[in-house]
Symmetry: C2
Subunit: 210 residues, 2 copies
């Protein structure tokens, strides 16, 4: 009996150890793997994105930092492909949009309302936000990393500052006047094996001085 208990314990420990060796289980390794594997994907199967997955992608986008915690973002999700030729009448590669599961337009309000810094107890006034563009870079990257984590693919397509791309979107969607369409991100199930680039370059790092 005692020998059997010892054997059982040994097998249990082995099995527990076996689970952990097959894939990175510490959070840092998993996150690094996703960051380093993220790549632009421009060709998709046409499969739709499940609603619960799309919600996670959008939650990731909205978890970005923002200057003064202003949170300038809004998001438009387009799955009705009959609208694409109108909305994306500007200089866009339509093929990848048509193959996607959805196209996400990340928008930013270039203004915000808050009391003036000179009069912090005064009334909220509408003023220019000088950091919205930086926030939106982070928003877009969060979205792309969540896409990668869920095994999907996407391609960051710049919209701002190209007026020929922005104007049809503004007009067809009826964006409020201070809101710019910042980036257009088609998302889908990748068709082919897309490889990330290894962009690490130690010569770009300067210690203590340039």
């Amino acid at each position: 009996m005692k020998r059997n208990v010892i054997l059982l314990a040994a097998v249990a420990m082995l099995a527990a150890g076996c689970c952990k060796q097959s894939e990175p289980t510490d959070n840092a390794s998993v996150v690094m793997q996703t960051i380093l594997n993220r790549k632009s994907v421009r060709s998709y199967t046409g499969d739709t994105i499940a609603a619960d997955v799309m919600q996670q992608l959008l939650k990731a986008a909205m978890a970005a930092p923002s200057g003064r915690d202003i949170r300038p973002w809004s998001i438009v999700v387009l799955t009705d492909k009959s609208q694409y030729s109108t909305v994306f009448e500007g200089n866009f590669n339509m093929q990848k949009f048509m193959e996607s599961g959805a196209v996400v337009i990340l928008c930013a309000d270039t203004t915000f309302e808050a009391p003036s810094r000179d009069n912090p107890d005064g009334p909220a006034i509408r003023q220019v936000n000088h950091l919205w563009r930086d926030d939106m870079g982070a928003v877009t990257e969060n979205l792309l990393l969540a896409v990668e984590a869920y095994g999907l693919g996407a391609c960051w397509t710049a919209c701002y500052p190209y007026e020929d791309r922005m104007a049809p979107i503004r007009t067809s969607l009826g964006l409020p006047p201070t809101v710019v369409p910042y980036a257009v991100v088609p998302i889908g199930v990748p068709t082919t094996d897309n490889q990330p680039k290894d962009k690490w370059d130690a010569s770009r790092v300067h210690y203590e001085k340039w």
Copy 2:
């Protein structure tokens, strides 16, 4: 003997199952957890950052996407605190820098060299990069997410476009003329329990139209 083998197999299976239930093991959950937990941390213990961890943070930063794959980034890592009062003479909160393990300055070349789009087989010419600022938002966010994944804390401190912040950095570090110091990111071991904000707002999402 047969009964013992069956028992062993049962225990092994139970042990294997037990490993997976104690924490999120699927990559999407781990990545989402990191994205949603990321927060600004402004107070640190003063402990240094291990060199191998710092390298991973910088690798994450350089894994960002960039318009036309230009990769405008360079990174300065400052740990010599005797230099901080000179480099950060501009309007910075020095206390968090002095407590940090390191201060990372994310820089961007606002120009790049490539053949003109009008003459793709012609000579490489130096030209303005219109998308460096968007790239750098993604670079900064990758850095912040890697920081979070390694259990460290950081705070994205805007540098561009504030001339009073940028000028002393340019001068003291001797940055090349087309390179801007984009963001200053102190990184350290967090002192107190910092809670992330839940910024999800379903009213910011518009389906098919605004």
